[in-house]
């Protein structure tokens, strides 16, 4: 090793010779190229670019050179260093990329494996259809009214203009609380809630009433003693039967899709006058299955229309029962069976599937928004 004050002797600093540097560069490039993994490359780096590598040693010799020689030698050393560093970086980048690729491949998993740790839950389709139908009316500015399931006879019958002698009050239709003449019953429709709403709010009043109702009926494929209705009531100045029709049309479309409208058919209910049954244009065939030669429609049995519910203009006696002046206000009301709506939508043949709580039915149908 030379001391700074040693006289200049080019022969003694062979490390700086062009040949030596070129040899060191060749050896280094070969080593970097030969490295097949990052460990080998690191070893090559330490051997050829480390502190004790020939190029490092050569660089250290630069200080001993006289100024005129230092510039030239320094430039050559730097050129070699730059080239080697670039070569090393290129090799490292290549090897790292290869490693990353290999690791990610090794870490691959079977993404089709199940992760069904907990059996799925779900809400009852009847709950969902009640929410959905309610929301249609809430969007129009109506409100959702509620009332008790055990109800007073006056609200369930008398106030609704159902005469004392009407057969609906008989024990074969209505479930009465003990004692049988006690005037308390399981509501047979959601109409008493309409009356409660009207009593509480007065006119104008736009409410929709989803809820559970009861009839004296044995459970079979098409009947249940417990079922669900959605009733609507609008009382305001100047309401007409055309408004009733338009409201039902909009409701039908929102439940069953564009183009599905309703048909009103004269019927009789004590609490409405005029009264009408509501038929729904078959939402599957849109009535086309009634054409001669058309394919049979299971949903409407090729009748084109599906019976959906009852409706009408609120009877003056009902308005008076709630203290609303029938000379100033008119109203309309309708009631739709929720089970029927669901069974029609899903082609369900047996109402018991909705009653028994089989999780297969609920988790399958309780998925609609």
């Amino acid at each position: 090793m030379s001391a700074p004050n040693d006289p200049y002797d080019p022969k003694e600093v062979a490390a700086l010779s062009t040949d030596e540097l070129a040899a060191a560069q060749r050896a280094a490039l070969a080593a970097f190229e030969a490295a097949t993994d990052l460990d080998q490359l690191a070893a090559a780096h330490s051997a050829h670019l480390g502190n004790k590598a020939p190029v490092a040693l050569a660089r250290r010799e630069l200080g001993a050179l006289p100024p005129q020689a230092r510039a030239d030698a320094g430039r050559r050393v730097n050129e070699v260093l730059t080239a080697l560093t670039a070569s090393y970086e290129a090799a490292r980048t290549g090897l790292e990329a290869a490693r990353d690729e290999r690791v990610l491949i090794e870490e691959a998993v079977d993404v089709t494996l199940p992760w069904d740790m907990t059996p799925p839950g779900g809400r009852h389709p009847l709950t969902l259809v009640q929410e959905r139908t309610s929301d249609v009316f809430v969007a129009m500015g109506w409100e959702v009214a509620e009332g008790p399931e055990v109800e007073a006879e006056w609200l369930n019958f008398d106030a609704l203009n159902i005469p004392r002698s009407h057969s609906a009050r008989e024990a074969q239709d209505t479930l009465w609380l003990d004692p049988p003449d006690g005037g308390v019953l399981l509501r047979t429709h959601t109409s008493p809630v309409q009356l409660r709403a009207l009593l509480a709010r007065g006119a104008p009043c736009y409410v929709v009433v989803p809820g559970r109702v009861y009839r004296q009926e044995a459970l079979d494929a098409t009947h249940s003693p417990v079922f669900h209705q959605l009733e609507g009531l609008a009382v305001d100045e100047g309401l007409t039967m055309a408004d009733l029709r338009g409201t039902l049309d909009l409701f039908a479309e929102s439940m069953f899709g564009a183009g599905v409208r309703t048909r009103l058919r004269p019927d009789h209910y004590p609490f409405t006058e005029p009264s009408a049954d509501v038929d729904l244009l078959c939402w599957v065939c849109h009535g086309s299955s009634t054409e001669p030669g058309a394919e049979f429609c299971r949903t409407c049995r090729s009748e084109g229309w599906i019976e959906w519910g009852g409706s009408g203009m609120v009877h003056p006696v009902v308005l008076q029962s709630a203290g609303v002046d029938p000379d100033r206000y008119t109203g309309y009301a309708f009631g739709i069976g929720m089970e029927r709506t669901l069974m029609s939508r899903h082609d369900l043949a047996d109402i018991r599937d909705l009653v028994e709580g089989d999780v297969r039915v609920t988790t399958a149908l309780g998925r609609e928004a």
Binding site: P119, V138, E143, T240, M241, L264, S321
Partner: protein, 819 residues
Amino acid sequence: MRVPMSWLRDYVDLPSDIASREVADRLTMAGLQVERVDVVGAGISGVVVAQVVAFEAVEGQKKPIRWVTLNDGSEERQVICGATNFDVGDVIAYARPPATLPGGFEITARKTYGHISDGMICSGRELGISDDHAGILVLPSDLTLGSDVVAALDLRDEVLDIAINPDRGYALSVRGVAREVATSYSLPFRDPADVEVPTADGSAYDVRILAPEGCSRYVARTLSGLRAGAASPSWMQRRLTMAGMRPISLMVDVTNYVMLATGQPLHAFDRAKLAGPIVVRWAAAGETLRTLDDVDRALDPTDLVIADDSGPIALAGVMGGAATEITDTTTDVVLEAASFDAVSVAYTARRHRLGSEASRRFERGVDNDLAAAAAQLALSLMAELGGGTSTDAATDVDRRPAAPTIVLDPELPGRIAGVPYPSTTVERRLADIGCSVTAAPGRLEVTPPSWRPDLKIPVDLVEEVIRLEGYDKLPSTIPKAPAGRGLTRPQRLRRMIGRTLAAAGYVEVLSAPFVDLDSARRLMVDASDPRVPSVRLANPVSEEEPYLRTTLLPGLLAALARNVGRGMVDVALFEAGPVFRARAEALPPPSLPAGQRPAAADLAALDNALPEQPGRIAGVLTGARVLAGWWGPARSASWADAIEGVRELAREVGVEVTVTADTHAPFHPGRCAALHVGSALLGHAGELHPRVTEAFGVPARTVGFEISSDVLIAAAPEVAPTPVVSAYPPATIDIAVVVDAAVPSAAVSDALRDGAGKLLEAIRLFDVYEGGQVGDGKKSLAFTLRLRAPDRTLTAEEAAGVRESAVAEAQRRVGAILR
């Protein structure tokens, strides 16, 4: 009401190219719902008129069998016949091979009873024209032999089967339906009741109405020299059969026929069996009557009866009495055509469970102008067909009120319909249904026809106008409702609760709320517990479940058992809904009139008459809560899942639940938690008592919860408290303490929380250890506490200070020792 088209065409001249189906559609859209159009006489071919030439008995058979020779007009044929109600010379219906009978039965020659039977002789039932199968059908002797029976008997017909609403009593007659058809097609209507009746002079029979509120009119006519045992003619039997009534005897058939034709029920008394005048009165207490069906009936003072000197002889408008019944030997009859009160008949029919064709009509209102004409029609038919002699003697006790007049604003129908109708349209439509209309400026004075007692107030007339103009012609408009406030808070919260439970793996069920008294015993609740069913139904759907539920658990457990039974063994179910509890101080509801807003006190009294109906939410779980999978083994649903279920749904609505150990049926006494919100009891959760799971047939270790939705919803904060969000770093410290094994972890956690003070941001129990290192009867609980200050980074000294005070508080409260 079943209306044969051929009968309908007697009263309205329908063009022959109008199909029955089209008439049915028109009627349906006019409010008479045609449920079916039945085709009768269809499917018959090869049946001809033939005459019996000779017959001989086939010997050696258990029942009489005849080998019959027939003349079918062109040749002689021989058939086997099992009937004996015919003689040589009778004309019969002969199914001549190849023939077809209704139902697609092919008739060919076949060997039977040792002969080749070349076809068969038909009964009325085999031809589908009556119910009679006792013998073969003997035809009128004037028919041409060999002619087709379908044509010869005019068998082909179509019958409209119409569901009649309670307000349309007039349509329970061919007359009423024909009138609607005539209106619908703008065709003239021929009224069958338009007959001449003799002037009533009271001479037919002495009749006294002592109950005018129950009977507004009573017409009596008489007939003598009758052959009551004669059969009615085949055309009448056929019409009765098609209309759904069974032909019985001439007298019965004629009264039924006239009733079907006009809608007026009639009754005939055997004059010889009457004692003294006919009296219409209310029954006296203690009176009895044996009705035509041979049942002795105890009468109620609200039963309207027809009586004579012997006492009641008929239940007015419902059923006649056995003592005055027409028999085959009857020669003289008194015919009754009356107008009875609808409500009275309805009550009597129901009280005695005696619905009849007559009561059905009276209940819906019978045209009170019809009695005299209907009696005349029946009398003429009886005289003509039964050979009797009628006279013009007529009794007609008439107490009918004057027909009401309704004042109608001619614009009202248009205002209600939403489309204007000219006054002339309104007048024409009202005239169509038989009203007499007088137009005055700005008002119409309308007198409804006698057959429309349902038309009482202006809107009743409005419905008639709109339905005849056509509901399908109404425009479709949407009213603009005032702005609404959306769902109420409880409504939104209930939806959130349902969604939360569903997301947590619970499946919703909606059980019928009916239970038996024994369900309380199976739930192991005390006799004094409010969950003992207390609301009983007077007429339950099933006598096995006559009570309303006081808890949701029995319904849920039944659904759970059903699912497990069907192989769905890992199940979580929930239900939300009301339960029913009798009010201790309940009074019967006040009796209030319709059409009048009750006073506030009366409305409150109505509500107070109802049982309490608080809301509940309950859930049950069984089987695996975490299923076995490639991630590891299954974890069974446990008491902790049930409690967590409540915590989850409470958390979702912003409510924090406090859990304490409790002993409460139907739960395992050592695995039951009481859940509180503040000081209010929310409900209970835990593992079900082994005897309860056994009693309900659900798997052992089924767990569940039941809480009050009312308490939960009341506790849900309207505005959630805003957290202090500090950006300074947290200090996390772990504290492990040893306590007696009986000390609830919640007590330790609460003590640490309170001791840690306001620097504590969160505390979480992360380990529970019981074993040798902590000693018998002890357990170690390890908590992580996250501390944070709102305004600075905490120092190590501050964190140590918190640890110290937390442990000190735990030691003070529950004797906790730092591990």
